[in-house]
């Protein structure tokens, strides 16, 4: 009698009458030794929970690079020699009233300068501001050169002193660099060391960022006239880590929402707490395992606990549902738990594995953070098999459920007259007319979606650091810098490589000029800097600054002199063989980056034959973005191909029916199309963060189809017409589908509030996909089934 999962198991209220040797080997192993299993789980929770507390938060930047792309390979191979890409912070001290050139305001600048000077990890010799001794002016005179520090040794804050400083600033040519063009602010440029010299440990960006915030607060608090603006890679990472802590707080919100939903569904306090706790145990195990395996939580993988929690709760709810119904019918809680395990373990494993397919497909993308996401999420799903498919039934076998809610769950199915209006609405779509209407609307939606999605961009579209929101403090500071200083934060670096001592070769430098000229013709290129540009400027400088000398004239001695000055300034490595050509861009839109990459490719096609000098992509934030865009664009299509391939295969195995596969997959495709259209409307481009969304959306979305369609197909096989079959399905798993959709959405919707922009984007898109897939499964799928799946008359007669 226990051979068929469809057949109803007998109601046994007396434990004595239960056959302990019934069920599968696994069931007997687990339930006949449930005390041992509980003890093992408790021990594991202690050990892994402890490990979980040790997991580190990191906002690594290299992990987001597409490691197999040639640009990144080139960068990794030459990174030690590449100079001038330094890890700098830029701090700007600004006043709103008057100019920075008052005794008081200059003192403000000097104090901030000194405070920063003492932060561990700052390369103190390399710091540059009006108040550092390396900021000097120099003019050509009849006798040669004359110069001195911009702030003279006898500076006393008097008007005469300040006038001299202003004159020196003009002579030093640092307007727009160290002093804003509107004279309302001054900059401090702070190169950072890789290691904290006091401790010898790697520089902790989080701590550094905190110290900078302290300085910002200390010097601007209570003085609305003053502001301090800070940009630089280290600050960005610091802000991202702060963002990660904020996201962790959202986890609590997600737990509360899920708990409330589950309670609303079960009305059973005891079992709600139990399911939520077991799922939290899963999260703890997962984090513990990750910590033991040496993984860190980054801004991407921190989302996995949310997903695991949401998936866990929805599967837990199903187990609970089964137990509730059995107990309601009068079965003993131990036996009810066993029955549920017997009925649903295999289905649960299949569903979790199908989620796993969505994650596993992510492994094909050669970007470390996404692969890490795939691994961590897969571990999470494996853990769920233990905690939610085994632990939950066992715990339920001890605790049972509240009596009233058990009775409520096992109420007989209502008749068609008194059924819920929502059910009545959904059942409409099993009739030809409404089904055709639903399909027509879907076709129109798909048409509009495809039309809108043609404008889907690749890459990040907002100004400033794309990781953070456009209105974040950091991005406001970036905007301030761009407005007032001649700086751009979007830098594409071409790696220029020659033989040792080859950087002085005139033909090589001429080629660099040619490439530079081509790049300058491009829309979105604001400036190009590099050894060749500086060489031309120095050649003019050492010829009394007469402008007509500003060219790479063919005098090797002059070139040698110019380059030797530039080696000390780190424009080129000491071996005179590697230097970056820095392209400052107006934005980091994909089209802008593509123009740069295309120009580099064309240039290499024209002149690559000359092998004494090599121009390679790429480094710099924009260089990496260009590489990422190329990889992401390719991966976006590949991913769809693989994820749909996997889903179709899975459906084929489950349904063994082509119409069934079509019914299951078409609604998912509509969601994928609409998701792309939504991205266009919301101004999101395809990027590292949106890739997992599509895979997760489809991989988890197919769950609904599995639950709903399996039951419909089974009922139809029993000879029911579609409407009846669907009605039965809605009562059996349909309610759970709705619950799953809402729980999953609740898990991810909180991300929309994340200070980290791409997490917010992921949250919005995933919420959309989970909810829309739910509607697809409940409306479009029966509508399609209405036309595609014919009830089998022979089955009806059987």
């Amino acid at each position: 009698m226990a051979h068929s999962e469809q057949s109803d198991l007998p109601v046994i209220s007396d434990l004595q009458k239960f056959d302990y040797d019934s069920g599968t080997f696994l069931e007997r192993l687990v339930f006949n030794h449930r005390g041992v299993v509980m003890a093992i789980c408790a021990l594991l929770t202690l050990v892994l929970g402890y490990q979980a507390t040790k997991i580190e938060l990191k906002a690594g930047f290299e992990k987001t690079l597409p490691k197999a792309h040639q640009f990144v390979i080139n960068y990794q191979a030459n990174r030690n020699e590449l100079k001038g890409l330094g890890n700098n912070l830029r701090v700007v001290v600004a006043v709103k009233e008057g100019t920075i050139f008052t005794s008081e305001n200059l003192k403000f600048l000097e104090e901030v300068n000194d405070a920063i000077f003492f932060i561990p990890g700052v390369d103190r010799n390399g710091m540059k501001s009006l108040f550092t001794p390396n900021t000097r002016w120099r003019v050509v005179t009849e006798q040669g050169f004359e110069g001195g520090p911009v702030i003279p040794g006898d500076f006393d804050g008097s008007d005469r002193s300040i006038a001299e400083v202003k004159r020196n600033i003009l002579r030093a040519g640092i307007m727009g660099d160290l002093v804003a063009n509107d004279e309302k602010s001054a900059a401090i440029i702070i190169p950072l060391l890789d290691k904290n010299p006091e401790t010898g440990e790697r520089l902790d960006y989080s701590e550094l960022s905190e110290k900078l915030e302290d300085i910002r607060d200390r010097f601007t608090e209570g003085n609305p006239d003053r502001s301090i603006h800070i940009i630089g890679f280290a600050k960005l990472i610091g802000d991202l880590i702060d963002g990660l802590f904020a996201v962790m707080a959202f986890f609590a919100v997600a737990v509360i929402i899920a708990t409330a939903l589950l309670y609303w569904y079960t009305r059973c306090f005891r079992s709600t707490v139990m399911v939520i706790s077991c799922t939290l145990v899963a999260v703890a195990w997962q984090l513990g395992i990750l910590s033991m395996l040496g993984y860190e939580l980054d801004p991407f993988s921190i989302l996995v606990p949310f997903l695991v929690f949401a998936i866990g709760v929805s599967h837990g709810a199903q187990k609970l549902n089964g137990v509730l119904q059995d107990i309601g019918r009068g079965t003993h809680r131990y036996i009810a738990a066993r029955y549920t395990f017997r009925r649903l373990f295999l289905a649960g494993v299949t569903a979790l594995l199908s989620d796993g397919v969505g994650f596993a497909v992510l492994m094909i993308i050669q970007i470390q953070v996404i692969q890490d996401l795939a691994v961590t999420a897969s571990i999470g799903v494996l853990v769920l098999i233990f905690t939610n498919l085994i632990l939950i039934p066992i715990v339920l076998s001890y605790t049972g459920v509240g009596k009233t809610c058990a009775e409520r769950a096992s109420r007989p199915v209502k008749s068609a007259e008194e059924m819920h209006p929502l059910w009545r609405f959904l059942l409409l779509f099993t009739k030809r007319g409404p089904a055709a209407a639903a399909i027509m609307v879907s076709v129109v939606l798909a048409g509009v979606g495809i039309y809108v999605a043609q404008d889907l961009q690749i890459g990040d579209l907002d100004k400033g650091a794309p990781e953070l929101r456009p209105d974040s403090r950091y991005n406001k500071d970036v905007a301030f810098m761009i407005e007032n200083y001649s700086v751009s934060t979007d830098v594409f670096a071409i790696i220029v490589k020659t033989e040792p001592d080859g950087c002085i070769d005139l033909e090589g430098l001429s080629l660099a000029n040619e490439l530079e000229w081509r790049l300058r013709q491009l829309e979105g290129v604001e400036d190009v800097r590099g050894l060749n540009v500086r060489t031309r400027e120095i050649m003019m400088g050492i010829n009394e600054g007469f402008p007509k000398w500003q060219a790479l004239f063919r005098n090797q001695d002059t070139v040698n002199y110019a380059v030797s000055e530039l080696v000390t300034l780190e424009y080129v490595d000491p071996a005179c063989s590697i230097w970056p050509m820095l392209i400052y861009l107006a934005d980091h839109k994909a089209a802008t980056l593509e123009r740069v990459v295309d120009t580099l490719d064309e240039f290499n096609a024209d002149w690559g034959e000359i092998d004494k000098i090599e121009f390679m992509g790429a480094a710099g934030s924009s260089g990496f973005e260009a590489a990422t865009n190329i990889v992401v664009k390719k991966a976006n299509r590949e991913m769809l191909f693989y994820v749909y391939g996997a889903v179709i295969l899975l459906c084929m195995l489950t349904f063994r029916s082509v119409p069934g596969v079509i019914c299951a997959v078409l609604p998912l495709m509509l969601t994928s199309i609409l998701c792309e259209a939504l991205m266009v409307w919301l101004g999101m481009g395809v990027k590292v963060a949106t890739l997992p969304v599509i895979a997760l959306g489809v991989g988890i979305g197919v769950d609904y189809a599995l639950y709903v369609l399996t039951v419909i197909l089974a009922k139809e096989k029993q000879g029911m017409d579609l409407t009846t079959a669907y009605y039965e399905t809605l009562n059996f798993t349909g309610r759970v589908v709705a619950l799953i959709g809402v729980t999953l959405a609740a898990g991810v919707i909180t991300w929309a509030m994340s200070p980290i922009k791409f997490q917010a984007d992921m949250g919005i898109l995933l919420t959309f996909m989970f909810i829309w897939n739910m509607f697809g499964a409940l409306i479009l799928m029966p509508a399609l089934a209405c036309f595609l799946i014919k009830p089998k008359p022979e089955a009806a007669s059987a």
């Binding site: 009849e142 007469f546 402008p547 007509k548 004239f553 063919r554 002149w607």
Partner: protein
């Protein structure tokens, strides 16, 4: 049949083309590569702007030559080199010459639309060596010629490293070019032949010759250069004589001849000097302090405008005795200044050409 044969030849040559390119080592040489049309030419580095015969001309880096009727819309000329071009002159509406780095001399016979290369710095040493060897043989008593032979041997070893800063044609056939290390050449046949005239130029230290000024209708011209060098040339006698009385040793980057015959020189660190009597007497020009003065222009109304490299514009209404700031800014570095269309100035520099309205 003829067509078929040429087709076969074409096919063969196409087949062989890859081999040909392998055997000929590819090299990048700005003297051999034509300038490329650029939408942004008027917005990129410009070294000189001039007005000739109601047309405006600008020269810049990467072989840019631009011409315009209104000083706002610029056309880019077809130029056979990618050298940085430093000066341009049109003695007639059709005939023009441009000079620049690598000692390049370009010529146009169609008002500036298309250009051919007449000369480059690689010829300078070779031709100079042959010429001065011959002169040394013919004039064994002259001590200058063996010295110039040595100088030309050195020039050959250096290659085309010397820029020509300035070109001036006295008519459609007779012209001079001037440049670095005292480089000076003349032509009497519209540039078909360029002759060395170092030996008739009193510049024994081979100082750079930066600028040229003259009064129209006068055969005399003035050359200003490095380290206080100031020469008065005579187009007829074909000599240039150094004025020794210059009260300063700094470089004169630019010079302008006022209508009253006075010459105003500007240069390093913003110093400016003026002489009314060809160097007998000098006065330092009254002016506010500025950065180095790098270019000048005589406006249509006779006023003089001098430009400081940091972007200062100075104007004089009294033939250069005193200068004041123009109340307009070039908005960035200025390398060159010129009369623009009615009531305006054209300035050029690293950010290209800008038209500035002159205050009345």
């Amino acid at each position: 049949m003829g067509i078929r044969r040429s087709l076969v030849a074409l096919c063969v040559s196409l087949l062989l083309a890859p081999w040909a390119s392998v055997s000929a080592q590819k090299s990048y040489d700005v003297l051999e590569l034509p300038a490329v049309p650029s939408e942004l030419a008027a917005k990129s580095l410009v070294f000189a702007i001039h007005k000739y015969h109601d047309r405006y001309f600008a020269v810049g880096h990467h072989g840019h030559i631009l011409y315009s009727e209104d000083g706002e819309n610029w056309n880019q000329a077809e130029v056979p080199v990618r050298s940085s071009l430093l000066d341009i002159h049109f003695p007639t509406p059709e005939l023009g010459w441009a000079v620049g780095h690598e000692g390049v001399i370009l010529h146009s016979a169609d008002g500036g639309q298309t250009w051919v290369k007449q000369y480059d710095g690689l010829r300078y040493g070779e031709e100079g060596l042959a010429f001065y060897r011959k002169m040394a043989e013919e004039n064994p008593d002259n001590e200058d010629f063996p010295f110039l032979v040595e100088e030309m041997e050195f020039a050959i070893s250096q290659g085309a490293d010397k820029p020509l800063f300035k070109v001036h044609f006295h008519d459609g056939e007779f012209g001079h070019v001037f440049g670095a290390y005292g480089m000076i050449l003349k032509t009497e046949d519209g540039g078909q032949n360029w002759q060395h005239v170092l030996h008739t130029t009193e510049n024994h230290s081979f100082y750079h010759l930066f600028d040229f000024a003259h009064l129209s209708g006068d055969a005399r011209f003035f050359l200003s250069g490095e380290a206080g060098l100031f020469l008065i040339g005579d187009a007829r006698s074909e000599t240039a004589v150094q004025v020794e009385s210059v009260p300063w040793e700094g470089s004169f980057f630019t010079s302008a001849a006022a209508r009253d015959g006075a010459v105003v020189l500007g240069g390093l660190r913003g110093r400016m000097f003026r002489t009314e009597d060809e160097g007998e007497n000098w006065e330092e020009v009254q002016k506010p302090p500025t950065s180095s003065i790098v270019d000048s222009a005589v406006l249509d109304d006779g006023r003089l405008v001098f430009a400081g490299i940091a972007g200062e514009l100075l104007v004089s209404s009294d033939a250069g005795r005193s200068f004041n700031f123009l109340p307009i800014s070039g908005g960035g570095r200025i390398y060159t200044v010129s009369q623009g269309p009615v009531g305006s100035l054209l300035v050029g520099g690293p950010a290209g050409i800008k038209k500035l309205q002159l205050p009345q």
